[in-house]
């Protein structure tokens, strides 16, 4: 058995194993192996070795592709992880938007329904009122008067044509009327309407912003002089605790109010006014304050916000001082205040009946 023979035999065997031999040759090879046991053994050995080699290589190939697949899978998974999040977001974008909108709407509608916003507004106005009060302490008398809550701006809500509505009362029977300066301040025209519904045009004769007093004169041809004025004007200071009453126009009907004089000074210690305890409302400004005997002791001017029963009335003394300051040429004859009181002995209902003809609604346009 030479090396060459061996070499040839292996080649032959390879051809046989690869199926390259014709059927005849294959049979010849098998027969040769049968007749030559040493070659048969060699063939078996060769065949198992080649098989081993092949399996090893197949296994290596499998392992390689497994590793490759693993790497590909890992990177793919990383990609899908990020794209999953992105696609989830793009899918749910509309839903999220709708949800957010619904949340916003429900939050604000709930707040609105429960009155949260009106509460806020209220709190804010309360706050600003407080601030205003603190500031006003430092201001002079004029500013203090302005700081006093105006009670004349109710009418502009009821009637759009009327800017302000307030009260005024007769000083003399020939048409002089007094009201507050803040009522007629900035007025285009002023009309006075009596309790019967008759209205007269009036002109401003004199104003005193510091005392918050305005003197008007009815300047209308239809106006006829009234009977003598039933009340008198009390220049002396009145006593604390004195019973007082007023008649005014917080609405279109005359409204009676009763109370007592609670302090000798007005808002923030203002000496030109009393503090009175009468329920007053916007529209009462300019109304007369009378004592039991029917003496005018003051003119209602305002009230303090946030404090119960703290209204203010300008003292009659200040009114008289104002009248005395009026230059003579702006008057049509002197103002002679009535000094004959016809109310003093009458019961209250009679007093009011007599009184109401001399009290006017002041309408400012």
């Amino acid at each position: 058995m030479s090396g060459m023979q061996r070499h040839d035999f292996i080649n032959w065997a390879d051809q046989y194993l690869r199926g390259e031999l014709s059927t005849e040759d294959a049979v010849a090879f098998e027969n040769f192996c049968k007749t030559e046991p040493t070659y048969a053994e060699l063939f078996e050995q060769h065949r198992s070795f080649v098989q081993n080699l092949q399996k090893t290589e197949l296994r290596n190939a499998f392992q390689q592709s497994l590793i490759a697949e693993g790497n590909a899978f890992q990177s793919e998974r990383k990609n899908t992880a990020t794209t999953k999040v992105a696609s989830l977001w793009s899918k749910l974008q509309i839903n999220a938007g709708v949800a957010a909108a619904v949340a916003l709407v429900s939050v604000f509608s709930t707040l609105w329904i429960t009155g949260y916003f009106t509460n806020i507004k209220k709190a804010n106005t309360d706050y600003s009122a407080l601030r205003r009060e603190m500031n006003s302490v430092k201001k002079n008398v004029t500013e203090q008067n302005k700081a006093i809550q105006n009670i004349n701006n109710d009418k502009n809500k009821n009637n759009a044509a009327i800017h302000f509505g307030a009260t005024g009362f007769m000083l003399t029977r020939d048409g002089y009327v007094v009201t507050n300066y803040h009522v007629i301040n900035g007025a285009d025209s002023i009309h006075l309407q009596n309790v019967k519904g008759q209205a007269y045009r009036a002109q401003i004769v004199y104003t005193d912003a510091q005392k918050d007093i305005a003197i008007l004169h009815i300047d209308d041809t239809s106006f006829k002089n009234l009977k003598n004025i039933p009340y008198t004007f009390k220049k002396q200071s009145s006593e604390l605790g004195e019973d007082i009453f007023t008649l005014g126009f917080p609405r279109d009907e005359a409204v009676y109010g009763q109370g007592y004089l609670s302090s000798n000074t007005g808002y923030a210690g203002d000496t030109i006014a009393y503090q009175i305890s009468i329920p007053v409302n916007p529209g009462n400004s300019g109304g007369p304050v009378l004592d039991n005997q029917g003496n005018i002791i003051g003119i209602i001017s305002g009230k303090q916000k946030g404090i119960d029963g703290a209204a203010f009335a300008i003292k009659t003394k200040e009114l008289v001082e104002t009248l005395n300051k009026i230059p003579a040429d702006s008057l049509k004859g002197n103002i002679f205040l009535n000094n004959k009181n016809t109310l003093s002995t009458l019961p209250r209902t009679e007093q009011i009946k007599k009184l109401q003809d001399y009290i006017y609604i002041v309408k400012v346009f």
């Binding site: 070499h7 292996i10 080649n11 390879d14 690869r18 070795f49 080649v50 081993n52 080699l53 092949q54 399996k55 090893t56 290589e57 197949l58 296994r59 290596n60 190939a61 499998f62 392992q63 592709s65 497994l66 590793i67 697949e69 693993g70 899978f73 890992q74």
Partner: protein, 196 residues
């Protein structure tokens, strides 16, 4: 219909995967990865493992499956997933014991094995040694013998092609060369196994 089949995730049976693996089909490998890797990876990562370690363990488990399929008449005695999971768990436990940190892995070692995979693993080790033996022999053989033998025995290239590729003057020369290479490989292989 065929288009729909491509779009829909195709349900491949365990047997189809087994057949694919025995042929070295890359589709089967892909399917194995997609179906079984996530759960096994989770198990390993939850037990002090990293993603890379999970990958290594999983690939070894697949190789165990491969050896089981190619070496013997393979019969599925359980679900493929169960088998791979059990093998991976055993492999990972072994690795952890080698590391000496079994204490913290009580939760996977406590449970009884889903499958008895010890035999499979032992056989796998044997087979692997044998293959390693051949691989070492091949790597010691050197070029051009290694490529020549692979081309002839694995890629089934004809003698003419090999002659052209390696620049031999005729096929007989190529045949002689192939024979010499094979003899050398046999010599390396058997000598090293004798040494052992």
């Amino acid at each position: 219909m065929s288009k729909i089949k491509q779009i829909l995730p195709t349900e491949i049976s365990d047997q189809e995967i087994v057949d694919g693996v025995s042929k070295g089909d890359s589709k089967a490998i892909n399917r194995i990865y997609k179906s079984y890797f996530p759960s096994i990876s989770r198990m390993i990562v939850n037990n002090n493992g990293s993603e890379d370690e999970a990958k290594d363990i999983f690939q070894e488990a697949v190789m165990v499956l491969y050896d089981k399929i190619t070496q013997q008449k393979f019969e599925l005695s359980s679900k493929l997933g169960t088998f791979l999971y059990a093998v991976s768990r055993r492999l990972w436990l072994k690795q952890l014991t080698r590391k000496g940190s079994v204490a913290s892995t009580a939760d996977i070692s406590d449970f009884e094995d889903l499958l008895r995979v010890e035999d499979d693993l032992e056989r796998h080790d044997e087979i692997e040694q044998r293959f390693d033996h051949m691989n070492i022999a091949l790597s010691q053989l050197g070029e051009p013998c290694q490529t020549l033998l692979k081309d002839f025995y694995i890629a089934n290239m004809s003698m003419q092609d090999i002659r052209d590729k390696f620049g031999y003057t005729n096929t007989d020369n190529a045949k002689t060369q192939k024979y010499k290479c094979l003899q050398r490989l046999k010599k390396i292989f058997f000598n090293s196994s004798l040494e052992k």
